[in-house]
Every structure is written in C-alpha cells, then in structure tokens.
Symmetry: C2
Subunit: 530 residues, 2 copies
C-alpha cells in the first residue's frame, strides 16, 4: 500500500529504499519514523502526549519506486535535534538505529535552509583550494607518498620530485602512521622538500600529511601541521568520527582531504547502508571535507560510473550556503584512465594517482610531467600566482613582550570595563572592576587566555560558577577569594586554583586597589549564578 505525498518545508526529509520481508512497506516506514525519533511504541507516544512534530512522519511511500524493486519512503523529522548536535546528531537521526534493520537503505536527504546554514561545510572548498594553488581550467593532479616502509629521505625525495614536476597536491599514504616525534621529523622533511621545489618552480604544490590517532594526540598533530605553515591534512572521518576532523581543521584553517578508509560498510551492500552519493557527497561535504576521496569506477574497487557521477554531483550541487567540495576519484587509477577521468568529472576534480604514478618510471619528476600533459591536453589550463604560504601566527616584527607600566597598565593592551553590565542578570552583579586582556585575543594561537583584573576598594566580581577552571595569581594589594562559602585572603604572588563548578567571587575589602592575573581556557563555557 502506498501513502500519498505531503509537503514539509521546515523538516529534514530522509528517503529510504525499503525491502520489507514479512510486513508491508508502509508499516515498516511507520516503524522507522518512531524508531529514529522517539524509540518507543505508538501506544506510549499516545499515552504521554508529545508536542506536535517530535515524532517522525511518513510523508510518502511509493511501492516499487526504489532501486531493485524496493519501496521508496520519504520520512520527515524535527530538525531541532540537528540544530543542537550538528553532524553527529544528523547521523543518529536519519540512520542511527535503522542502520541495523535489514532491507533499509538511506538514499536521499533534504534540509530546510536554516539547518543547512547551521552546518559549517567545507572551509576552503573548490574556490579556496584553487586560490591556494593558482591553477584554473583543469583538474588537479594529486599523488600519495608511499609505500610505508621506505625511508623518510625517500619520501621527501618523492614529495620534492612530484612538486618539481608540477603536481598540485601530494598527500601522505593513509598507512603512514607513526609516533609523534617520528611524525614531526617526517612531516617537516617532506614539507621542506616541497617548499624547496615550490621556490624553484614559482608554483605551489600542497603537501597534506596524514593525521590520525586518539585524542589528545590527534589535536597535537593538527596543531603541528598548522604551525609548520602547511595548508591542510589528510584525515579519516569514517574512523576518527564525523565531528572531530572538521573541528580541528577549522580551528587551524586547514584544507581537509577526507580518506575513505573504513567507509565500505556504509555503502557496500546495495540493500542496506547509505547510498554512495550521500556518503561521499552530501555527508562528507556537510562534515566539512574540502576534498572527498572515493574509489573510482574501473579501479580496484567496485563503484559504478553512475555512483561516482552522483558523488561528484552532490559535492558540487547547490546546498544552502555551503561551498562546493572537490570530488577526488582514486583507487587503482593510472595514466590510461586520465582522459576518461577528465571527461567524467570535468575541471573541478582532484585526480589522485598513487602507485601507478610512483611506479611509472625511475624519475618521478618527469613522470609527473607526463601525467600532467595528458590532463592538460583534455583541459584548458590557466595559471595565476598561487597564494603565498601562510604567515606565522605572530608577526615576527611585533614586540613580543607586553611591558608593564605604572598603575598596572600594559603596552598595546587597553583596559576595559568588566563584562557588559546590561546583559547580566542581577545574580551576576559586580562592582568596580577593570579588565586588561593580555593574551588570547590577539591571534596568539594559545589554548589559554591571560587577563589582569583590578577591583577598586569596596568592589567585587560576580559570584559565579562554570565548568572551566581559573588559576589566579595575586599581583597588587590584597583581596578576598570567596570559594564555596569559604574566604581566603589573596596577596601579591599568592596562587589560587578554582575548580570546575565551584562558586567563586573576588572582593576588595581593603582601601587600596586589588589586582590579580587570571588564567582561563580560550574556549570556555558561560558563567552562571551558583
């Protein structure tokens, strides 16, 4: 039985192909609607009385309209959960539990505009990466540093030769995984080799190291790559998770090239899982990939040409305010595949050729030229000056020491009033407080901020608490630290540590100014009243 279509402009619409076994398609669709939104039976939904729209709704079931004779079902969901939880919440909502139901495949998604605006999407995208390399009118040529096991010298040589030959992007193989100290050495040497080549050619080949590992090692690697001035990373969202790489790439303004390792389960069965185009197109783009690597038709893996075309379409199609991302067909591609790849994907594609390029001949530099010439013959190359490598975070010419001046002022750092009193509840009232932002608001890339606060006689800070911690160092005069109802005096060079969710206040009960340094996390939660 089919359910007729409805319209739902303000909801997330997920389309599934259903291969029900012992039930009707619309019964299965109704079960999915409950499972994905509230995970209780309809009887309980009726008994508790939920607000309208919370439960998923079956918009349409069209028996036989899906792939391979499946019923095609359109369901709509309340987007508030995705507004709150981002990409991880989206995956849970549209395919969380139902991923474990036989015969259910997610084949399409559509979003209200305001939900799309809430996703970050690619930070650089097609235009951003083109600006970095200054190459227009043709696909980009990429390769991988491999095989694991060769020396770092050899890897650096390869990276340099590819760059000298005019290659656009050289990434680490995803099997290059090592301890942090080895990683630092290897990445720096490959980066230096590419830098040298770039200075020789006047062009800009991008080197993207592979970053992986559990936290906090992963964060440290992203930071190291950014500090070297490299433009981006290769990362594995299907292993590392859909939230993490994007956050770290955004924090460090890095190009994010997504590797498909461990993705197979999500699409390989054509009865279950998620449509290829959704996985490598829509979902990776929403999750912030600038470049999405996927196994090309005709290579070592078995995607069909139409699957690949769908991926490329979804990476480039209008999707709210989100930038287009690069399709990057790969996996057993060779010189002979290049003309077809150019024809299939057009100019806005990164063509990734690993083993076949490295193994093409003794001289990787001239092999790279050979491969590029084939691409050029199929396109219309136009070169512009590449974007210069990023500046170091701190201006080398700027004074690096903030000099202390009389009355606890500092060079280049103005005093300001503490908080904006108009936005504060009475519970967070304060009095007579001056603030100097010293470190953290001036591009320092420090994970910690340093402020100086000074409270005039009779004044006090807000009585408040928060998850983040404080370290307080007394600097001028004497004050009182109220902490969990206890009072302790604080004088110059005394140190206090205020723990998470401990209610605290600093008071000046003396007749002289009371000043102190306060160390806090750069990313921190808002204070609330105790």
């Amino acid at each position: 039985m089919s359910t007729p279509a409805r319209t739902t402009p303000h909801r997330i619409v997920a389309t599934y192909d259903l291969h029900p076994t012992d039930t009707a398609a619309d019964t299965l669709a109704a079960a999915i609607a409950l499972e994905q939104s509230v995970e209780v039976p309809q009887s309980l939904v009726d008994a508790v009385g939920l607000p309208p729209g919370v439960v998923g709704e079956v918009e349409e079931v069209d028996v036989g309209a899906g792939a391979g004779g499946a019923a095609r079902a359109r369901l709509s969901y309340d987007p508030s959960v995705v507004e709150a939880g981002g990409v991880p919440a989206l995956l849970n909502l549209v395919f969380g539990n139902v991923s474990m139901m036989p015969g259910v495949r997610l084949v399409d998604l559509s979003f209200p505009e305001h939900v799309l605006a809430g996703f970050d999407g690619p930070r650089h995208g097609v235009a951003g990466v083109r600006a970095l390399v200054g190459v227009h009118g043709r696909p980009l040529l990429a390769t991988a540093l491999k095989p694991r096991g060769v020396s770092v010298d050899r890897l650096a040589e390869m990276a340099g030769a590819f760059a000298r030959g005019g290659g656009d992007i050289v990434k680490d193989d995803q099997n290059l995984i090592d301890g942090f100290e080895t990683f630092k050495d290897r990445v720096r040497r490959c980066a230096d080799a590419v830098d040298d080549a770039n200075q020789r050619t006047g062009r800009r080949c991008l080197y993207l190291p592979h970053v992986t590992g559990p936290l906090p090692a992963l964060e440290r690697r992203f930071e190291y790559v950014a500090r070297l001035g490299l433009p981006g990373v290769l990362a594995a969202p299907f292993i590392a998770g859909f939230g993490i790489n994007r956050s770290l790439a955004r924090d460090h303004d890095l190009v994010l090239m997504a590797h498909p390792t461990f993705a197979g389960g999500h699409f390989i069965s054509r009865r279950e899982g998620i449509d290829h185009g959704l996985v490598f197109g829509t979902l990776l783009r929403i999750a912030g990939a600038d470049i999405s690597i996927f196994p090309n038709a005709g290579g070592r893996f078995e995607l069909a040409r139409e699957d690949c075309a769908d991926i490329a379409d979804r990476l480039g199609a209008p999707l709210g305010p989100m930038r287009p991302a690069w399709p990057c067909p790969a996996g057993g591609m060779s010189l002979a595949h290049l003309p077809r790849m150019c024809a299939d994907y057009g100019h806005d594609a990164v063509l990734l050729i690993g083993g076949a390029l490295i193994g093409h001949g003794e001289d990787l530099e001239s092999s790279t030229r050979t491969f590029l010439d084939v691409i050029r013959a199929e396109s219309n190359e136009r070169l512009e000056p590449p974007q210069p490598q990023r500046e170091p975070a701190l201006d080398a010419e700027a004074p690096r020491v903030l000099k202390h001046r009389p009355e606890f002022e500092w060079t280049d750092r103005p005093s300001s009033a503490y908080k904006d009193a108009r936005n504060l509840a009475d519970a967070l009232a304060f009095k007579g407080v001056r603030r100097v932002e010293l470190v953290g608001r001036f591009g320092e890339r420090s994970s910690t901020d340093l402020r100086y606060f000074e409270i005039e006689p009779g004044g006090y800070s807000s009585l408040e608490k928060h998850v983040h911690t404080h370290i307080v160092i007394g600097a001028r005069g004497h004050g009182v630290l109220v902490l969990g109802g206890r009072r302790e005096t604080l004088g110059p060079m005394d140190v206090a540590c205020i723990g998470p969710l401990e209610a605290h206040q600093l008071r000046n009960e003396s007749s002289e100014p009371f000043g102190f340094f306060c160390v806090v996390d750069h990313d921190r939660d808002r204070p609330s009243a105790p």
Copy 2:
C-alpha cells in the same frame, strides 16, 4: 587453491571470509595483504626493497572453510603501525580500504601480547561497575530516559522512580540531544532525582547522560558530567569515532556505555563488513567501552542468538591485560524476554529495557520492582554497600590558596631542580634553574599548568621549541627572553607569549635572581632543540 598455515607470534593476525567473484581466493588474499599494508602493487614493492615484515603476509587460505562456503584467509600484519596509532590505526590496518571490496568480511583478530598491553581497554569493566553499584550475583537492570519530547520534569521523575524501584543503571535515550545550557539543566535535574532516590534506598543507581556533538562541545559535556560527580556517560563510538570517547572517559574516570547507533553498516551484510562479535565485542572492548549495547536476538533487529553469544564471549574472554566488559543486550526487549536473557547471558550482563518498562504501567517505581523480581528469580543476588559517589576533585577542607613566602617559595609546593639533566641532550643544556610546580600536578583537573621558574645570575633555560605555547609573566628581577634570535628584557609583571615551534630561551644576565611564572598546557609535547 589453499595456502598452508604458518605461525606468526609477533604479528597482528586478521581472518577474513572471502567470496571472490572472478579470481581465486589466494589471489584475492594476496591483494588484500598489499592493499592494507602498503597499497602499491607487488612490482613496486620489489622495486623499492622494503624492510622485512612491512608488507602484509598471507598465512593460510582455506577454501570452503568460511561461513556460507567462503574461503577463510588468515593474514598477518606488522603491529608497529598500531603501536603508534592505537585503535584508529588498527581499524585502518585490518579493514580500512578492504571494507570497500565486495565479498570480503573480517571475522577474527588476534594480537601479540605487547600490542594488547598498549590498548587501554575498559577503565572500569565488569568488576569496576559492580563495585560502583554493590550488586553481585545477578544481571543488572538498565533503562533509558525517553521519549524525546517529554518535559525535563517528567524525565527527572522517571529517573528517580527507576532508582527508587531498585534499578541499577538509567541512561539517557540517544535521541536526547540539546544545546549545552539545556543539557546542563536536564542532566543536573535527572542527577539530583537519582541522588535523592539513592539517599532514600541506601543503594546506588547510576545515571549515565548521553554525550554527543562535535569538538569542543563534546569535551565540555564530558567535563560537566564528571564535575557533577556522575559515574559515566552514554556515547556513540560509531558516530563520534573510535578514539575520542575513550580518551575523554579516561581523562574524567567515567564509565563508558557504548550505544550501537550508526553501527549497522559494519555488520549487516553477511558477505561484507565485520563479524558481529568483533564489532560489538572485541573492537568496542579494545576501544574502551565498559558496557557494550547491542541489538538482542528476538527484538526489533535481526541478530541471531549465536551472534549475540559470540559478542558476550568476546567481551568477557581473556584478552591480554584487558578488563572484561559488560554485554548489554537491548532493542525491543520486554518483561517476557527477561528469563531467556538471564539464561543466555548469565550474571555478568546489563539487561536494557526501555519502552517496555516505561510503558508497563502508570507507576515506574513498582514496574521496576516487577522487572527486578523476575531477574532475581533467575539469579542469586548478593548486595554489598555501593561505592560512594566520587569526591569532588579538590578536597573542600584543603587550603585553596598557595601563599607566597619569602624568596619566592610557596606553601605546600617544594622547589625542585629543572628537568632531569641526565636525560637531556647537550643541545638542551641549561644552568642554574629552580622550578616550583604550582598548579597541574595536584589533582586540580585544570587543562593548564602553572610553574614558577627562577634562574640564578649567569644561568639560562634550555634553548628549545615545541608545539605547545607558553605564557610568561615576570615576577622577580630582570632577565632576557631570546625568541627566534631576538632579545627582549623581561621584568616584574611584564608578559610574553611564546608561540608554537618558536625557539626560545630565558637568560639571567643580571646579578640578582630572575624569576617568572610560566603557563603551559597540561597535555603537551616534549621540547626539542631548534
């Protein structure tokens, strides 16, 4: 053709079931060995000359020995990549690219002892969670707070009623996803309701809130849960990634209950993906889950009883030094299923019943008693005093201010020599440096450490660089900051910020002691010579 067995005590062995289409099983096995370790053709391996062991090796191919007539192939891999990269590197190694090959299913894994010792595994495990609740000799009863859409009052009421009825674990539904301020309010109110109930019963029901979201929101939620004194969290490793939840749970000493949302793709096809037992048993246990929720046979999802038995076996079987974890069968379970669940899983299981328990009657407290009575009838309950709720991170009675004393010493904080000179290369030489660790080494749960350093006249710190940053605050006398080859003087209350990878040194060229505070990340990389 079959390949005979070999032995490889020092390598990771992965067993695959192969359904090759147009090739022989041992050819496919050899292709997997290359794909997963070096991802280049054998010809290139031969040309470059790799160290022994780097390339994956086919240990055995037994045609027809796999499930459904598949060939069963045992391959061995160099473990060094996993030693360096942990669980994410393991997934990439044993099933990264090959996950995208049709007809290849990962069915078993074995590890050398030293590799197992490198995984953290469950932090609490079966014994740890039993100690928290003080319940022995029977399975634990768990429920979920749902449905999404009911008021926070109602959720808190449910949590309290379940705890008063004697329930052991109440977790958020994985659909409870909201903004941080709403999350804080909801979690605190549910925690308070469970606390009140626990004080009434003298027992300890555990409340595990659902944590999700991209970084850094996810970190903040883990921290909030820990600060409330809650014992653990519900998290989604198949969405958030296999590295992240374990790191955060370990940092905060939390029980990690793993939800299977979005896991389906990994196992649902029986020709591809990963064996159910490996996914929910071995992999989640290695990745640190204390409790692994999976869809039970006979519920809303279609796992077979033998799949479920295999999961439970793998969660409990000897696995190096790793603690056993709890199987948590779930998904459409009801009162009628309980005797069978008790028989199937024995005492060391968490039986999760959501909708059927919540919808059982008007009074959740007495429904919980009814369900528990069924479990008790099938087992041999023995109660011990539960572990008291965790202490706040800081002792409320301890002095909270470190008092500055003459000569820049502090109460409760001894001075020590700077670094251990014996482990330092000449390049990192230093002279005449005293250090006082002020904050970060004493259980403060601060993400930042504070140290005081003092350099005697003529002394200097190491000339070094690192990824982490420094904030330096002058405190005593005058010194020189050497930063990237420039020199700046630093006196009391002057502030300097040393960026990532900037070579720096602090020198005392005066005739008085030079002292300064130094703020650094608690988790930081080792310095190296410039």
